[in-house]
């Protein structure tokens, strides 16, 4: 009888400790999102994305903002850290780029951070080439 009590007590303590560890590392100090390993919420073309944003920025924000999306389009500009698709979707990369994408159709995955009214572009960050 006594032995059973100790077993129950230890298991309760163990559960509490593991829950604590989970809460500490899994919630409080959880690493930032890793966009490259997330499955995209949307797979769309660059043209459709900019169309949605020019038609109704608020509605488009509610759809795409902060979501991981995969965008397909032709690369129209390329710098060492960014690729612009169809002149309207600005994709920022974390690492320096050394791929040659110019004028080629590509698919890029990243997090949509919103619409830039200064340059009339949709901005995507933490990008990776599919």
């Amino acid at each position: 009888m006594n032995r059973r009590k100790t077993i129950i007590a230890t298991s309760i303590v163990l559960v509490i400790i593991s829950a604590g560890i989970y809460f500490y590392y899994g919630v409080i100090f959880k690493e930032a999102r890793n966009i490259a390993s997330e499955t995209p919420d949307f797979r769309i073309t660059a043209k459709k994305l900019i169309e949605d944003y020019t038609a109704d920025p608020k509605k488009a924000d509610s759809l795409y903002l902060n979501k991981t999306i995969e965008i397909t389009g032709k690369a129209t500009k390329e710098t060492d850290s960014a690729i612009v698709l169809e002149n309207t979707v600005f994709c920022l990369f974390k690492e320096k780029l050394n791929t040659k994408m110019m004028d080629k159709k590509t698919t890029i995955k990243g997090k949509c951070i919103g619409y830039d009214e200064l340059f009339l572009e949709v901005k995507i960050d933490q990008c990776s080439v599919k």
């Binding site: 409080i28 959880k30 924000d61 902060n66 920022l92 919103g114 619409y115 830039d116 200064l118 340059f119």
Partner: protein, 184 residues
């Protein structure tokens, strides 16, 4: 025949004038903004945004900048979530903007060593606009200008409420550093 020649000449002039006009504007789409709101002996509260847009008109000194709030990155995911959801409400106010003018701006006087200018204008954060005046250091770089500086902002000035529970952990004045490499 003569008429078409004149039209052609006029068109050429218009094109020339247009390219001249756009050449006066310096832009960046990958400007950098960092902010620090840490208190001593508490966790670091800091974030960085590397995708800030800015335009500077070299002839007039007009300056405009736009930063997307979701582009700020923190080391800790929970902090980023709180920043977006509780403080900045980035679903409702997805961007912060600045529109203003650099006083006594003269691009011919700018050299490779940084020179101080006063930048005056309206800063909009969290849907609230306030006039600000900051010092900006401008220096010449190949193909453009570099504009950098730092200023402080108070959350309450922009209607950002910080609950008393975490008030001690967040600085009263938030230090903001910016660096824009503006090119043609």
């Amino acid at each position: 025949m003569k008429k078409s020649y004149i039209i052609f000449l006029a068109l050429l002039l218009i094109i020339a004038a247009n390219t001249q006009g756009t050449a006066q504007k310096l832009i960046t789409k990958t400007g950098n903004i960092k902010f620090q709101a840490s208190m001593p002996s508490y966790e670091e509260v800091a974030a960085e945004n590397k995708s800030v847009s800015a335009v500077l008109d070299q002839t007039t000194g007009d300056f405009a900048s736009l930063v997307l709030i979701k582009g700020f990155r923190f080391k800790v995911a929970l902090m980023e979530e709180h920043f977006n959801e509780n403080y900045m409400e980035s679903e409702k106010f997805p961007k912060a903007t600045f529109k203003g003018k650099i006083e006594d701006f003269d691009s011919s006087k700018i050299t490779s060593s940084p020179k101080n200018f006063t930048l005056k204008g309206d800063l909009t954060i969290h849907g609230k606009t306030r006039p600000v005046s900051v010092i900006v250091k401008i220096s010449k770089v190949s193909n453009g200008l570099n504009a950098a500086g730092a200023f402080e902002a108070k959350p309450e000035d922009f209607d950002i409420e910080i609950p008393s529970l975490v008030r001690k952990k967040i600085a009263d004045k938030i230090k903001i550093n910016y660096n824009f490499l503006l090119i043609k």
